[in-house]
């Protein structure tokens, strides 16, 4: 049987100590892949990258096939990594990273590159999907994990307050180390993408007083075929027609 091109079939470490990688490889029953080995040919499937060095993973090479899942180690225990890897196995593309890393990587663009590699699409469609995913991730980062309120009103003061709160929370590990998880998979004639955060949840208000903030969810709704808020608003599921 030819394995699915997105089935996670090997593990690679980036800045992860060798003994820990061996331990996780055994726990996950995934063979280790050495850096620089041929691009996935030996598996015909995708590679899970365990990211110990969040700076090094900015290189575009780590976001192309055969890589299809990314888990940033940071403060996760082995058991938590194994749990995350199980969730990764259910998706075609999967990323579980800290809030700071999600923001620094421009994660939406990278996930969209991965989706476009699995299912080629016109540029305008790719742009729309990237915007919707970027808005979902931004909401998860800013309002979910960092618990920063949007800009109220249309003044420089509102912008300054937003600036100040965002910088303070991004520098506070209690907020900035919270997780952002993105899972994407292809179904017949559509792509489903979920974004989850570890914030206090969110209920979509019936009426929004637009200041400089508040447009993100409407933009998403204008683009997607279907939008669901799950887990008390900590997880958004978007369905895109393909």
């Amino acid at each position: 049987m030819v394995p699915s091109p997105t089935r996670v079939a090997a593990l690679q470490g980036l800045g992860v100590p060798a003994d820990r990688l061996d331990r996780l490889s055994a726990a996950l029953r995934l063979p280790p892949r050495r850096p620089g080995s041929p691009a996935g040919e030996e598996f015909g499937a995708s590679v899970l990258l365990l990211v110990g060095d969040a700076g090094a993973v900015e290189a575009p090479d780590f976001w192309q096939r055969p890589f299809g899942a990314w888990i940033e180690v940071a403060s996760l225990s082995d058991a938590q990594i194994v749990e995350a890897a199980r969730r990764a196995a259910r998706a075609d593309l999967f990323a579980c990273v800290t809030t700071v890393t999600a923001n620094r990587l421009h994660l939406a663009g990278r996930i969209l590159n991965g989706l476009a590699a699995l299912h080629p699409m016109p540029e305008a469609q790719r742009d729309d999907m990237e915007l919707a995913l970027h808005e979902a991730i931004s909401n998860a980062v800013v309002h979910g994990n960092l618990q920063v309120e949007g800009m109220k009103g249309l003044s420089v003061e509102a912008l300054e307050r937003f600036s100040h709160d965002l910088a303070a929370r991004m520098a506070d590990p209690a907020f900035a180390d919270r997780r952002i998880e993105v899972a994407a998979w292809l179904e017949s004639a559509c792509a489903v993408v979920e974004v989850a955060d570890e914030g206090t949840g969110f209920a979509r208000p019936e009426r929004i007083d637009y200041g400089a903030s508040g447009r993100g969810l409407d933009l998403i709704a204008a683009i997607v075929e279907e939008l669901q808020l799950l887990d008390g608003g900590r997880r958004i599921r978007m369905r895109f027609p393909l």
Binding site: L131, S138, L159, G216
Partner: protein, 101 residues
Amino acid sequence: MDYGIEDKEQETLVRLRGRLTFNDHAKLRALIREMLQNKAKRQVLDLSTLEFVDSAGIGMLLIAREEMANADKQLVLRSAAGQVKRVLTVAQLNKIVTIED
């Protein structure tokens, strides 16, 4: 996001480059300050080399518009293309801000 400012006879032309997202709050504050300080009434943002804008970027452009209006100046968005043009359309910004091709 980066920007360059060019003072012309009738207007100030500001060219935005790169990505305009919620991460650019400090840059936008600096830009608004500069636009308030110069003399021209017409403050034109040239978006032709802007690659990506998000809802927070739109929000910050609306703050710029409001601040210009309070100072009796006009904000104009010009030459948006690709993704940026698409977002301005989806967000129906033409109802609030002057948009030129």
